[in-house]
């Protein structure tokens, strides 16, 4: 049996095959690609999703997020993805028509990579994205190139659309680059995004995301990063949008002395649900990984944070850190945090923590006693809370933008 058959046998009782239609109902309409490998990949992926359905809360990593229940209430039609590239576009290009002349390295990645060999049996969104492989771009930074100017990627959702953007990224040896994603849109839609990144020796990528999707939108995103030795990856995601969002990040640290920072701030109001699920696989020695998240949850919103650090036996001298702090602004807000460490090496430094609380009443009174009106005092404290993460963003521009988005979010709260 191969890994996939294994999974099917193991997880079958938890699968709900009938939910596959939610992702595949428009599949037949997809125009066949000119490249045969793409058609074959789509077909394989489509069959896989038909067998497994979409992830339901019966699966461990989807316990807190019921995607099929949400999608069932939506009426969506498959549409082309609306992706705009701007800024430093020298090394980026959209997928060619008919998917012809795809670079071999990118084809290899797309054909082979489903992270962690799908050991949780829950990568059906990735498969669903493969089934629709058509829209996206390739970003290929040659070895040694260092650009301080970022590539901006805007992915816009449109009412009634189901769209599937793909990003395939390679940063060559010693190269340095910055990528900024802007996600926004209007109306109800579902974007199912896959982002594949490989960082070669000594490469450095700063990757920022402003998730400002429509309040009726659904976005699911799988980001998989493979890091070679001495590579460095900094990610920061600011989530203020989407009715339901799932951001799953998987880092494979495959070379020694790599360093990754996976940070984010989620500011949720209304009935939004934002799910951040992170797995860091330390597969080599002397690597550093940090996860640092802040959730600010108001109204009836829900934040989910599941972070895992997996230290393989070979990964001695690993330094792994994880912290998720949540601030509940209303009595009906919910936070589910699940930090996990799985360590098989004996000489490592790993720590994790999670806190959930309300605004500090003492601090609030102190500020108000100095003449600061309640709303303003609360906002000061919330800003201080999220700034613990925002202040570590290495791009000045992104840090300032983030502060603006946070400020705007606070202004909009009743």
């Amino acid at each position: 049996m191969n890994a996939q058959e294994n999974n099917l046998a193991k997880f079958k009782p938890r699968y709900r095959a009938e939910t596959a239609d939610l992702a595949l109902s428009e599949w037949e309409r997809l125009v066949p690609a000119s490249a045969e490998w793409v058609n074959a990949l789509r077909r394989r992926a489509q069959m896989s999703v038909q067998e497994t359905g979409l992830p339901t809360p019966k699966l461990e990593r989807w316990k807190y997020t019921n995607l099929p229940a949400k999608l069932k209430k939506m009426d969506l039609v498959y549409k082309d993805a609306d992706i705009t590239l701007s800024g430093m576009t020298d090394y980026a290009y959209s997928f060619p028509k008919g998917m012809l002349h795809f670079p071999q390295w990118a084809q290899d990645r797309v054909e082979e990579d489903v992270p962690s060999h799908d050991k949780y049996g829950d990568m059906m969104l990735w498969q669903a994205a493969n089934a629709y492989l058509k829209d996206g771009f390739i970003l290929d930074i040659p070895a040694g190139v260092k650009s301080s100017k970022p590539l901006n990627v805007t992915m816009a959702g449109h009412a009634g659309a189901y769209f599937v953007p793909r990003q395939v990224i390679r940063v060559g040896e010693g190269a340095e680059f910055t990528l900024i994603e802007y996600q926004n849109g209007s109306g109800a839609y579902w974007g199912n995004i896959v982002t594949q990144i490989e960082l070669h020796k000594g490469a450095k990528l700063n990757h920022y995301r402003f998730q400002e999707n429509s309040e009726n939108g659904v976005v699911t995103q799988n980001t998989h990063i493979v890091m070679k030795e001495e590579a460095s990856y900094e990610s920061f995601t600011l989530t203020t949008g989407a009715e339901l969002s799932r951001h799953q990040i998987h880092v494979d640290m495959k070379g020694q002395r790599g360093e990754c920072h996976i940070n984010g701030v989620n500011m949720l109001d209304g009935s939004k649900l934002s799910d951040t699920t992170i797995t860091i696989d330390h597969c080599a020695s002397n690597c550093v990984s940090n996860q640092n998240y802040r959730n600010v949850v108001d109204d009836k919103a829900t934040a989910v944070f599941q972070g895992k650090v997996h230290v393989h036996q070979i990964a001695q001298k690993t330094d792994g850190y994880q912290m998720a702090k949540s601030l509940l602004l209303s009595g009906q807000a919910t936070v589910n945090t699940k930090p996990e460490l799985e360590i098989y090496a004996d000489d490592v430094k790993c720590s994790h923590g999670a806190t959930t609380g309300r605004l500090d009443e003492e601090a609030l009174f102190y500020l108000r006693a100095r003449g600061i009106p309640e709303k303003q005092a609360r906002n000061l404290l919330i800003q201080a809370f999220v700034n613990e993460v925002i202040e570590n963003i290495s791009s000045d521009e992104v840090r300032e933008q983030s502060e603006l988005v946070v400020g705007r979010w606070l202004m909009e709260q009743a």
Binding site: R368, R370, I372, P373, A377, A384
Partner: protein, 250 residues
């Protein structure tokens, strides 16, 4: 002019202030002394409007306005200032941001023009210098990592910037050594003015050697039980609070 009449307040249904009367004229400094549990800190929190302190009767007027009806920030804008016994640490909120936000909120509420960043910085520098507060302290988060003396000096700095009509100093001497006490007291004395009144709440007479009061009151079991001149503080220092402690829970 501060006029507190028959003030009654309780916490969790337990009556702490039991009909307190106090009148402080413009420019006067009054001291309230009393044993532990007499209601000294409750009085300061009730005046500042802290949650959990329920006023069940009486009034407290500042220049004719009943402040007990106001939100804490409105009281500050109206001219009340409470120097906290335990100044609160607020991680992540920088001193300069805090001072600017507070000062401009108060100025706005008072119908005065708000200060820009440069104007604020100038004012802050001047006041810091007067109080012996280093610029480095202004770069830190509010009260975070401050020593006991620094925290109290920071309270006086805020008072100097907000220019209240009526300042309540809640056990400002607690946790201070003599040198720190002198600096804080000098800061307060520098702020004494015709249009500014002070209420100094303290357990010990020591503070009153540095901040000389016009009147001294003894608070026991939720009421003012004795009033007099500065000599009353000395008398208490000698005799203790024994004679006023009657009727209190041991």
């Amino acid at each position: 002019m501060i006029e507190i009449k028959n003030l009654k307040a309780e916490i969790d249904g337990k009556e702490i202030l039991k009909g307190l009367n106090l009148s402080i004229g413009n420019g006067e400094v009054h001291a309230i002394m009393g044993p532990n549990g007499a209601g000294k800190s409750t009085l300061s929190y009730v005046l500042a409007g802290r949650d959990g302190y329920e006023v069940t009767g009486g009034s407290a007027r500042l220049d004719g306005q009943d402040i007990l009806e106001m939100e804490p920030d409105e009281r500050a804008a109206a001219g009340l200032f409470l120097a906290f016994q335990y100044p609160v640490e607020i991680p992540g909120v920088q001193m300069t941001t805090f001072l600017k936000t507070a000062l401009n909120a108060v100025r706005k509420a008072r119908g005065e023009e708000e200060l820009d960043a440069i104007g604020l910085l100038k004012l802050m520098k001047t006041k810091c210098k007067e109080l012996g507060i280093s610029d480095e302290m202004m770069k830190r988060a509010v009260n975070v990592g401050f020593s006991g003396g620094e925290k109290k000096r920071n309270e006086v700095l805020q008072m100097a910037m907000l220019e209240p009509k009526f300042a309540v100093l809640d056990e400002t001497d607690s946790g201070l050594d003599i040198d720190a006490l002198r600096i804080v007291a000098d800061g307060v004395n520098a702020l004494r003015a015709q249009n500014r009144s002070f209420l100094v709440i303290t357990h010990y007479q020591r503070l009153l050697d540095y901040i000389k009061p016009d009147h001294v009151h003894v608070l026991a079991d939720g009421k003012i039980v004795k009033s007099g001149g500065p000599e009353l503080a000395l008398e208490l220092e000698k005799k203790g609070y024994g004679e006023f402690a009657k009727g209190q829970a041991a």
